[in-house]
C-alpha cells in the first residue's frame, strides 16, 4: 500500500480494496487535494474495444459524500468514437494534482440526481456510472 493510500480514511481504503476485488485492474491513489482523492482506475470502459484509464475524484469521506469529476490523460471518446463533449474542460486546474502523471482533461460530472451512496461497496457502481457517462458523453 502506498503512503498516500495509507493516509486515507479507513472506509475509503476499504472501498478501494473492494473495487480491486471486483475489477481485475490497477486501482491506486495518486493524489489528494481539497478533501478529494484522485483514484486511478486503469480500465474505465467506454464501450469500444480498448478501455482507458482515468482518475475518478472521490471524497475522502466516501461514501458519506459524492464523487465529483474525472481526469484523463487524453480526451475521452464515447461509444460512437466521437469525443466526449459533456462537461469537458481541457487543461482545467482540477487536473493539477495529477498533471505530472499526464492528467490533462477534466470532466466536471457531479452526482446530482443520483442514488444516495450507502456503503463502501457502492464504489463499484460509481465506476460503472462513470463508464455510462463516458459512453453517452
Amino acid at each position: 500500500m502506498s503512503q498516500v493510500e495509507a493516509g486515507l480514511p479507513e472506509r475509503l481504503r476499504q472501498a478501494l480494496e473492494h473495487l480491486r476485488s471486483k475489477r481485475a485492474c490497477d486501482v491506486r491513489v495518486d493524489a489528494v487535494q481539497d478533501n478529494f482523492a484522485y483514484i486511478w482506475v486503469s480500465d474505465v470502459a467506454n464501450g469500444s474495444a480498448e478501455p482507458m484509464g482515468g482518475w475518478i475524484r472521490l471524497p475522502l469521506v466516501f461514501p458519506e459524500a459524492n464523487p465529483h469529476g474525472l481526469v484523463t490523460r487524453e480526451a475521452v471518446k464515447n461509444s460512437s468514437g466521437g469525443q466526449v463533449t459533456d462537461a469537458h474542460n481541457p487543461g482545467h486546474d482540477m487536473c493539477g494534482p495529477v498533471r505530472s502523471l499526464g492528467g490533462a482533461h477534466y470532466y466536471s460530472w457531479t452526482w446530482q440526481n443520483c442514488p444516495v451512496l450507502r456503503s463502501i461497496e457502492d464504489i463499484v457502481g460509481v465506476v460503472q456510472w462513470y463508464e455510462r457517462r463516458i459512453r453517452n458523453g
Binding site: A45, G69, W111, Q112, N113, Q128, W129, E131
Partner: protein, 94 residues
C-alpha cells in the same frame, strides 16, 4: 432467437419458455418475453429502480451494449439479453 438462454417445458400439452438471465450474480427466471426493467431490478432487491439504469452486457462481466431506464421494457429474446448489471442513474455537471 436471441442469445438469452431459453428453456422449453411441456405443460399439459402446451409449452412455454423460461428466460434465465443474470443481473450481476443474481439469477432471475422470467416467462414473459418483454419485461419492464423496473421489475427486473426490483427482483434483485432494488427498492428504488427509478434511480438506476439496467445495462445489458455482451457477456458475463462484459461491456454494456444497451441500457434501460425503469420505465422501459426489455425484450429478453433479443441478442445480448442474458447478462445485466445495475448502474446508478442520474448525474449533472458543474
Amino acid at each position: 432467437m436471441g442469445t438469452t438462454f431459453d428453456q422449453t417445458k411441456a405443460t399439459g400439452g402446451s409449452s412455454h419458455r423460461v428466460f434465465v438471465i443474470f443481473v450481476g450474480d443474481i439469477e432471475e427466471r422470467w416467462e414473459e418475453v418483454n419485461v419492464p426493467a423496473e421489475q427486473i431490478m426490483r427482483k434483485t432487491g432494488v427498492s428504488d429502480p427509478q434511480n438506476f439504469i439496467l445495462e445489458a452486457l455482451d457477456h458475463k462481466g462484459g461491456n454494456p451494449v444497451a441500457e434501460f431506464s425503469s420505465g422501459q421494457s426489455v425484450n429478453l429474446d433479443a441478442e445480448h439479453r442474458k447478462f445485466f448489471r445495475i448502474t446508478p442513474g442520474g448525474g449533472g455537471r458543474s
